[in-house]
């Protein structure tokens, strides 16, 4: 054990870092509790004088916040399901079979992650407009698959690499076809990997702003980040509602992230480091 007196400065630095990390959260929490007439006070109290939940009620009564949350939830779930389903087979092929151009396919998938989505957004916008998919769920799902699929393929390939081949070979000896070996042996064994890939796609869409802004332009199709941006635009009048909705969106996300951070981080390394 290191001696106590060695570490006081380490504690000091860490506590300082932690305070900087929590500060904005505390502030937003305190603004959300402010009564309407004190919204723009410059006080630094955490629990303001005359704290109320007024802003929380207002968010639901005066805006489409609930609708935005539902939109985000459905979109994130569907995108995660679709991108995992589509990338699982490709990842399996890359993990198990050796074929010409295999390396090139993998490099292409990796390189496509480096193309900023904004670069492809303009042609995608016109493509979706031609297919009448602007302001629809399908439009946003299509556009977000651009980066969730290559990413999921990489994560899942890393996961499949850790499953011993012998299991499938044993299954094939017992009469399973090649597709059957994938479906009945590899898929059930990869549930943790599939959920990590799904969770990544889910959070990507859940937090997505830039692409959604372009594709969803009518307020009833907004996801919550766009709604939040609109609320914040009116700094003076709706600051309290912005803060209240931020708190409501952040708490479940923090819960899920902190709960799953262990697997998330291990999934990150399994997919990327091994390559």
């Amino acid at each position: 054990m290191a001696k106590r007196e060695d570490t006081w400065w380490a504690h000091a630095l860490l506590v300082g870092g932690c305070i900087l990390c929590i500060l904005p959260l505390l502030r937003i929490f305190s603004v959300s509790l402010r009564p309407g007439d004190k919204l723009l006070a410059t006080s630094l109290d955490v629990i303001p004088k005359g704290a109320t939940f007024e802003s929380y009620v207002q968010v639901f009564s005066d805006t489409l916040f609930l609708r935005w949350l539902v939109n985000s939830l459905i979109l994130s779930f569907l995108t995660a399901a679709i991108s995992v389903a589509l990338s699982a087979t490709a990842a399996y092929a890359l993990s198990r079979y050796r074929f010409p151009l295999r390396k090139s396919v993998m490099v292409f998938l990796l390189a496509s992650q480096m193309i900023p989505v904004v670069v492809l957004l303009l042609p995608l916008y016109f493509l979706l407009q031609n297919m009448h998919l602007l302001n629809t769920y399908s439009g946003l799902i299509t556009a977000t698959c651009v980066y969730t699929i290559p990413f999921s393929v990489w994560i899942l390939k890393g996961y499949f690499d850790t499953i011993p081949r012998e299991l499938e070979e044993a299954g094939k000896v017992d009469g399973l076809s090649d597709v059957g070996a994938f479906w009945r042996i590899v898929v059930p064994l990869s549930v943790p990997g599939l959920s990590i890939a799904g969770l990544f796609s889910f959070t990507t869409v859940w937090n997505e702003y830039i692409v959604a802004r372009v594709i969803l332009q009518e307020s009833e199709f907004y996801t919550w980040p766009i709604g939040l941006f609109e609320l914040q635009g009116d700094f003076n009048t709706r600051w309290g509602m912005f803060a209240a909705s931020s708190v409501m969106v952040t708490i479940p996300v923090l819960g899920v992230f902190l709960y799953s951070s262990r697997w998330l981080l291990s999934g990150l390394t399994a997919g990327s480091v091994k390559g």
Binding site: A90, I149, F235, V253
Partner: protein
């Protein structure tokens, strides 16, 4: 009610998509596994015919389906499917190849529709004159004018936004990337080293320190934007407590850029910290014990054990971080993109977004996008050259 309708619409689209995928897999199966069939070539050609008709009706035609489109579509379909059949007969005798192709087909199809096709579409836009005035006619079926390299010349000679020039954006992007990466790596490494010590309360520190990464970026950036409000934000209130003048974070050029950098540094440290912490924990403890036996100082331990052992973790995360920071539009757009926002903090990528979707200069933006893509590409190639050289 509308939500249900929208979900039903997605399911309908998925159904169509599944039919297309199923058709594709069926065609592939035919091409790969029925090569000994005497009807191989007629059926392959018929598949190309059907595919060509489908394409002509779907993409090229619509209301203005012309005979020429059908002929071209069908011809391309028949020729390409026959060539692909030939390819299968010649090279796909190995069972592994056939299975791999069938497993890969769905994802490859999607990725090529969503990445490769838009990329070439963007290239073609970059050489035409699509803008706010021509987009209506274009949508109605009018052809665009070919303007050669005009758009590319404009990228370098005119402002992508209102006054800021390409070169100012370029320099700002470099400053943005370098400052962010240096601070991310510096602070991340410092916190990781502290967390790697055996100190009580480590778990709590770790949890609190990843909060900036864990909370939704939109919430974090918009909250910070509020804190930087010149009149009501807490930053100026704190400066005031220390007797300093209020800074106009929302509209003075340098403070605007500085506030974006502060927010992005705050956001990016936890990722680097976690990655470095993982790297530190994988260094075997006996190395340090051996060094202690030999009488190494703390600094020598850091310099000759920690730094070299951490290098394989640091190098890829710095490269990844550079690309992410270069491409990071969220922070800058959310901080300055409101109506009445300014262009004091814009980097290349956010200027691209604004020129396309705020100013509707579509062809200009397409050319600009190609230029940005080439910059990124040269960075990646340059980096690959360097690492290749280091391996030898």
């Amino acid at each position: 009610m509308e939500v249900i309708l929208s979900v039903l619409q997605v399911l309908t689209h998925l159904f169509y998509f599944a039919i297309v995928l199923f058709g594709l897999e069926a065609c592939l199966y035919w091409l790969l596994y029925r090569q000994q069939n005497s009807l191989y070539w007629p059926i392959t050609a018929a598949m190309g015919l059907a595919g060509g008709l489908l394409y002509a009706g779907f993409f090229a035609g619509g209301a203005t389906l012309a005979a020429g489109n059908i002929v071209i579509g069908v011809a391309v379909g028949v020729v390409s499917s026959s060539l692909f059949g030939l390819f299968c007969r010649r090279y796909m005798q190995d069972k592994h190849y056939r299975l791999a192709l069938m497993f890969l087909a769905p994802a490859i199809l999607i990725v090529s529709i969503l990445i490769i096709y838009p990329f070439f579409f963007e290239l073609s836009l970059a050489f035409s004159n699509l803008n706010l005035y021509t987009v209506g006619g274009w949508m109605a079926g009018k052809d665009l004018k070919f303007v050669g390299l005009d758009n590319f010349a404009n990228v370098f000679t005119t402002s992508p936004l209102q006054t800021v020039t390409f070169w100012e954006l370029f320099i700002r992007t470099i400053i943005w990337t370098v400052v962010n990466i240096v601070l991310h790596v510096g602070f991340g490494l410092m916190l990781a080293l502290l967390l790697n010590k055996r100190i009580p309360g480590k778990g709590i520190y770790r949890t609190l320190l990843i909060l900036p990464w864990a909370m939704p970026q939109v919430v974090a950036v918009l909250s910070w934007r509020g804190e930087f409000h010149p009149q009501f934000g807490s930053i100026n209130a704190i400066l005031n407590v220390f007797g300093m003048d209020a800074i106009n974070w929302w509209s003075d050029p340098t403070p605007v850029f500085l506030s974006c950098i502060i927010v992005n540094v705050w956001l990016g440290i936890p990722f680097m910290m976690i990655v470095f912490l993982g790297g530190l924990q994988s260094i075997p403890a006996d190395l340090y014990e051996a060094a202690k036996m030999d009488g190494a100082s703390k600094w020598q331990e850091f310099r000759f054990i920690t730094v070299p052992m951490l290098k394989p973790v640091v190098v890829p995360s710095v490269v990844l971080g550079t690309i992410w920071t270069f491409n990071n539009i969220n922070v800058i757009y959310l901080m300055t993109g409101q109506s009445g926002g300014n262009e004091f903090a814009d980097i290349l990528i956010s200027a691209l977004y604004k020129s396309a979707f705020t100013y509707s200069r579509y062809s200009f933006a397409a050319a600009f996008a190609v230029v940005i893509f080439l910059i990124l590409l040269s960075f990646v190639v340059f980096w690959m050259k360097i690492t290749k050289g280091a391996d030898d």
